[in-house]
Symmetry: C2
């Protein structure tokens, strides 16, 4: 039985690498630069080199490594990413290419999906088998886990919950081309926009977030915690969109727990409380008491989940 596996989380600027024991113990973690030039041709060779160097450094033989799991920012289906804009990649058979480069078995997943799997393994959904993980960052990502397995989807778009339609009135288009996506209201970017709109709609109202040069979701939540009335309205608006959408997702997947991660989740318990308030209103009766929890692994979730992919294979 192999004792180790690697979990690799590929972002547009850095690649997070983790060496794990197969029980989920993180032995070592480090980062390398994501070299996106020349259509990102160096990314996979760099990863293979990083893995081999670490094995050499630690004196780990090939037979002791179960494989490499890798999370990528794009739709993944059966080991192939169809496009990864941030890596300057078109379609790429990552399972095959990285397998040949490294000589190890490779498992490939979408980055938001594997982050969800990480939270299920060692984070906010630890010990659960059914979970929805929603990641509130620059965008809104997600991962759906049913009976312990990630929902990859037939186009690699399982858990793309940031692009569920939630609003008919907004006229600004989403990055995806549609208009009215959850991401436009529940991402850090969306919350900042809601704040700017609320400030503009009430030009006379005093607020702790007025006058901040580029107001952020963090500014909004910080002010909310201090009792700022205008920020509270922004938070309630955000939470209503998210709680309502989570209710609809729960009517599909009926999870044991809904985990909220990403930068916005640093707001902490007050975020869970306000989202849960709206979730309870809109969720189907059988799902109203579903636990809502904070993610626990932060930026390491993708690394953990990628490693877990290897073991699930």
């Amino acid at each position: 039985m192999a004792k180790y596996c690697f979990g690799i989380d590929v972002g547009g600027t850095t690649v997070k690498c983790g060496l794990f024991e197969n029980d989920g113990t993180l032995v070592d973690k480090w980062e390398i630069v994501t070299r996106t030039e020349n259509e990102g041709e160096n990314i996979l060779p760099d990863i293979a080199t990083a893995v081999k160097s670490k094995m050499q450094e630690k004196g780990i033989a090939k037979k002791d490594v179960a494989g490499i799991g890798i999370g990528l920012p794009g739709p993944v289906r059966k080991g192939v990413v169809s496009v990864a804009v941030n890596l300057h990649w078109g379609e790429k058979d990552v399972e095959k290419e990285l397998g040949e480069l490294s000589g190890l078995p490779v498992s490939v997943g979408n980055d938001a999906n594997v982050a969800a799997l990480g939270e299920l393994w060692k984070g906010g959904a630890e010990g659960k088998k059914n979970a929805i993980v929603v990641t509130l960052g620059t965008g809104v990502g997600g991962g759906i886990i049913i009976e312990g397995k990630l929902v990859e989807g037939s186009h690699g778009a399982g858990g793309e919950i940031g692009h569920a339609h939630v609003d008919d009135d907004i006229e600004i288009p989403c990055n995806c081309g549609n208009t009215g996506c959850l991401e436009q209201f529940a991402s850090a970017t969306g919350i900042a926009r809601l704040a700017r709109e609320e400030l503009a709609a009430h030009p006379e109202e005093e607020s702790a977030i007025r006058g901040i040069d580029k107001v952020t979701a963090k500014n909004v939540f910080d002010a909310y915690k201090e009792g700022d009335v205008l920020s509270a309205r922004v938070v309630e608006k955000f939470a209503k969109y998210l709680g309502k959408a989570l209710g609809a997702f729960a009517a599909v997947a009926d999870p044991e727990v809904i985990v909220i991660g990403g930068g916005v989740s640093k707001a902490g318990d007050c975020l869970v409380d306000v989202v849960a308030k709206y979730y309870k209103v809109y969720a189907f009766s059988a799902c109203k008491n579903t636990q809502i929890a904070l993610a626990r692994l932060g930026n390491d979730a993708g690394m953990y989940g990628s490693a877990r992919l290897v073991l699930d294979k």
Copy 2:
């Protein structure tokens, strides 16, 4: 290897029974009355008797029967239904009770869920592994199938998509206690209400459905096919709600096919066309071309799916 299995679909008035060969060939089907008196105490004994009689009639030995699959109108989790109002049941361990009564292995599922599984096995989603099946009847039911397996959910509420919140303005409550559920707009009942509202809002407008005593969804679709303008507005309204909601569900499960069944689906291809039109607008880019198809098994879907449950066990 056992050659046969039974698929039983329990409704509030009749129990549909099917004897299948394990390749999905329907050998015989018949119905018995659902005796709901005395808290439905006779229902399971009646089913056990029906199964035994059929085995005797056909000369089938116990060893040749893989088991009994049974679909029930209520939330099911691990063989136990938590409540089935139409059968006058509270919580009941159906797997255990029917197993003891029949002496055969029993598999239990929710009726809408098993109907979805039936459509996957031998109906509109035949040959697919990932599907959303939505049943438009008196209410709206559903079943989600991921990699060939039904999503039961952690409270037996997987696929309860009729109770996704889709509207903030309606004031009439849904049967579930919430307000604004998909079921209120996309069920036969919901379509009839939309029609009554449209008639009342345009009292001067001529329409083929005006003056009908109790206008039904069928009346609306029949008139729509004949070019009735008012009915077309009702159909478009219904289709927008449903297409939009299916788009959001696809962002969770990313199915290969969405199958529409239930009484309303008898409207045929024109129903698929109008729902697909809105689905394409609201679905995430990767899912926009997901096939939308009609259910093919009609009222037999539950029977087929229940039988399939046995074989999946």
